[in-house]
């Protein structure tokens, strides 16, 4: 600990403390411009100059970057210092006369008007005063180094490299945050460059998935977080009081021994981008069903209002059914849920934009469930238009300025036998529900077959929709096929009940017709392992033999026939028995 005296007041501080920091402890205010508590002191503005006694003379040093020494005596408000600071401000005001932070400091020092003006005079209120806090925070705290200085002397500027849009910039807003003159403005574009007025996703590297997320804790996007790229920042760690942010967290592999598995891995939404005729991803205001769900949600980006990209409510909304479903080019099957949610959207659009027209372009209106047909009638009464026909294409109307932004939906109205072209502001696509892209891998992992449409195969479409051909393995929900919430719940309950029934029995009944491997003859070739359609044969590495799990074995005998050593006995249909039958029947 060392002792420092500032303006007559003495205090004890740690070694290495700067005069400015010591003054803060004593509540003595020293003016600064380029200093910022998060950054290393730079000493650029020179405003924080103080006088340090050195023998009989007084040395003028900058308080921000001068470390205190034991016995140091400092003065912060001598006449000499005030004159020095006033002169500095005169120079600054000469160049930047209208910048508020400078004018405020000038007032403090009793400076009315600078005596000179600069050839580089910049009259703007938000002129850059070259405090360089932005450059330093980007380098020291964030670690992105996206901006820097250019040129020298009076021509020094703060720019991105070569004045181009910087790829290193992660749009964290730190530079805008520390800028004293609002010269750097944060436009609220997220790090993926999407405009702020319609963010359907997160907008910072650490984000809350949605306002209603369960659990309601933030996640860190590894791709975007600058800490993983440069090792710097970790501002989130610094501000989190309970210390809950841990960048070292990773995936944990947990091994759990179970007897039964229920696969309920859900679905993916068909990506409509390849269907160029609908313009998804190419034209504005064309959305997929889940995008609209986000928009309609009260915690969404528009607080539940139905808005176009320009912030205006739509005059007409088109809802196109069967995008990717009932389509020979994509999926033959019907996705089951879309007609009902299309009607839901129609209802909500009418409710929130009473003046808007809603058009449904459908093939069939499938309102199959309890209360569904009644809801359909209600939506029709609310004035939703329904047009039976496929939409050929969605194009931009571009004849006049007033048409700008309008989309034309070209369709066939089969009930009147005509082609129609309907101008709308917004198009909603009812994308197909399709199996997840990794369904094949997951299927192979568990030994789950898939039906031709790619969803997991149930044991029987009518009589056993939750079980699979492998005992103890069940499927439920959209992983087995498109279905809505009541059906998913029913299926999940059924599967859970079946699993509980097996568990509560306490024993597993084994069929006498099954296979068993005679260990002494098994050579560990494992040919049988891959052949079993029920994954019922395990390989025991320690003994280098295979073993049949009698609870899973169905007794088909495929492995018995395939074993090159003849090591597998098929009880009930053994080789001995069949040979005996052959001998008997061919004896006469």
């Amino acid at each position: 600990m060392i002792s420092i005296t500032i303006d007559g007041m003495t205090t004890q501080v740690q070694e290495g403390t700067t005069i400015l920091q010591a003054a803060k402890l004593l509540d003595i205010k020293i003016p600064t411009l380029c200093y910022h508590p998060l950054l290393k002191p730079f000493g650029a503005c020179r405003l924080c100059v103080v006088e340090v006694e050195k023998g009989s003379r007084h040395e003028v040093v900058t308080a921000c970057n001068t470390p205190g020494q034991d016995g140091m005596v400092v003065a912060t408000r001598t006449a000499h210092l005030l004159e020095a600071r006033r002169l500095l401000l005169e120079f600054m005001l000469a160049r930047w006369p209208n910048v508020p932070v400078l004018r405020k400091l000038a007032e403090e020092f009793g400076l009315e008007r600078p005596r000179f003006t600069s050839v580089l005079r910049d009259e703007r209120e938000d002129a850059c005063i070259l405090c360089l806090r932005c450059v330093r925070i980007c380098e020291e705290v964030v670690g992105a180094c996206a901006i820097g200085f250019e040129d020298r002397g009076t021509h020094r500027r703060v720019v991105t490299p070569f004045d181009q849009e910087s790829e290193a910039c992660i749009a964290c807003g730190a530079c805008a945050h520390v800028c004293l003159t609002h010269h750097i403005k944060f436009e609220g574009e997220d790090y993926r460059g999407r405009p702020a007025e319609f963010l359907l996703g997160s907008n910072t590297a650490i984000y809350m998935p949605t306002a209603q997320a369960v659990p309601k804790v933030p996640s860190i996007d590894r791709e975007a977080c600058i800490h993983f790229k440069t090792g710097a920042c970790q501002t989130c760690v610094a501000v989190c009081e309970p210390g809950a942010v841990n960048h070292q967290m990773g995936d944990q592999e947990v091994e759990v021994e179970v007897g039964q598995v229920l696969v309920a891995t859900g679905y993916d939404l068909f990506d409509a981008s390849p269907m160029a005729q609908y313009g998804y991803g190419r034209l504005d205001n064309i959305y997929a069903a889940l995008d609209i769900e986000r928009m309609l949600n009260a915690t969404g980006p528009t607080a539940g209002r139905v808005l176009l990209k320009n912030g205006q409510p739509p005059r007409a909304v088109a809802i196109i059914h069967c995008v990717g479903s009932r389509d020979e080019n994509h999926h033959r099957y019907c996705s089951r849920v879309c007609c009902m949610y299309a009607l839901k959207f129609s209802h909500l659009v009418k409710e929130r934009c009473p003046a808007a027209e809603v058009y449904n372009f459908y093939i069939d209106m499938r309102a199959f469930g309890k209360g569904y047909e009644e809801f359909y009638s209600r939506v029709l009464h609310e004035g939703a238009n329904v047009i039976r026909g496929k939409v050929a294409e969605v194009v931009q109307a571009g004849w006049s300025k007033q048409d700008e932004g309008t989309l034309l939906v070209r369709c066939e109205d089969t009930l009147i036998g005509r082609f129609r072209e309907i101008p709308v502001d917004m198009v909603v696509l009812c994308n197909a529900i399709e199996p997840q892209s990794d369904a094949g891998r997951v299927g192979r992992l568990f030994g789950l077959s898939r039906s031709p449409d790619g969803f997991f195969l149930e044991r029987h479409p009518k009589l056993d929709p939750v079980a699979t051909t492998t005992d103890g393995l069940f499927v439920a929900g959209c992983a087995q096929g498109p279905k809505d919430i009541p059906d998913s719940v029913a299926q999940a309950s059924a599967a859970a009940a079946r699993m509980l029934a097996t568990i509560s029995k306490g024993v597993v009944e084994i069929d006498p017709v099954r296979a068993e491997i005679q260990e002494q003859y098994c050579s560990g070739c494992r040919i049988c392992n891959a052949l079993c359609p029920y994954n019922a044969i395990d390989y025991l590495e320690e003994r280098n033999v295979s073993q049949v799990n009698s609870a899973l074995c169905k007794g088909c005998g495929t492995c018995v026939a395939a074993c090159p050593a003849g090591a597998i006995t098929g009880y009930g249909f053994s080789d001995r028995q069949i040979h005996a039958e052959l001998e008997g029947m061919l004896a006469v």
């Binding site: 077959s449 051909t469 017709v513 005679q518 003859y521 052949l531 359609p533 029920y534 169905k554 007794g555 088909c556 005998g557 495929t558 018995v560 026939a561 395939a562 003849g566 090591a567 597998i568 006995t569 098929g570 009930g572 249909f573 053994s574 080789d575 001995r576 069949i578 040979h579 039958e581 052959l582 001998e583 029947m585 061919l586």
Partner: protein, 150 residues
């Protein structure tokens, strides 16, 4: 029909769930089927070991039929595909042994195809009758006992 006409002896391996049930349906429906076909029931056509087929020929069978579920309908998922693979291999081996490959036949019969089974048994019997009795040039006597392990 001659009195001393050659009566083929045919062994049929029928899978329990489809082919055997189909044959049972033919019987229950009183359809006329060939008595020459002697049936061995297995749970799945995939149970049929190639050695069964060879043993059958060795013991004097003039023809062997393997019948299982239609592809995609196997009660045990894919057993019938394995039967198919084995039959393809067997046909080549039989050819090497000098046995006419038409003496081995693979058919898909579902549980409702009783009529198909009846017709098939008659057709196959006639085909084997045309081919005549099987004469194997054996270095090993056909009656030798086979040591079976499992």
């Amino acid at each position: 029909m001659e009195q001393n006409q050659f009566e083929p002896r045919i062994v049929g391996f029928l899978c329990n769930w489809c082919a055997y049930t189909g044959a049972d349906l033919a019987g229950v429906s009183r359809m006329k089927s060939a008595p020459n076909l002697r049936i061995i029931r297995v749970m799945c056509s995939g149970r049929v070991d190639p050695s069964f087929v060879l043993r059958a020929f060795q013991l004097g069978a003039d023809g062997v039929l393997i019948a299982g579920c239609h592809p995609g309908d196997c009660h045990y998922q894919e057993g019938n595909f394995k039967a198919l693979r084995r039959v393809l291999m067997l046909k080549r081996i039989l050819r090497d042994f000098g046995v006419d490959e038409r003496r081995l036949r693979l058919e898909w019969i579902s549980a409702s195809e009783g009529e198909k089974f009846a017709r098939l048994s008659l057709e196959f019997t006639e085909e084997i009758r045309t081919l005549g009795p099987l004469t194997l040039e054996t270095a090993v006597e056909p009656g030798l006992p086979v040591e079976v392990l499992a």
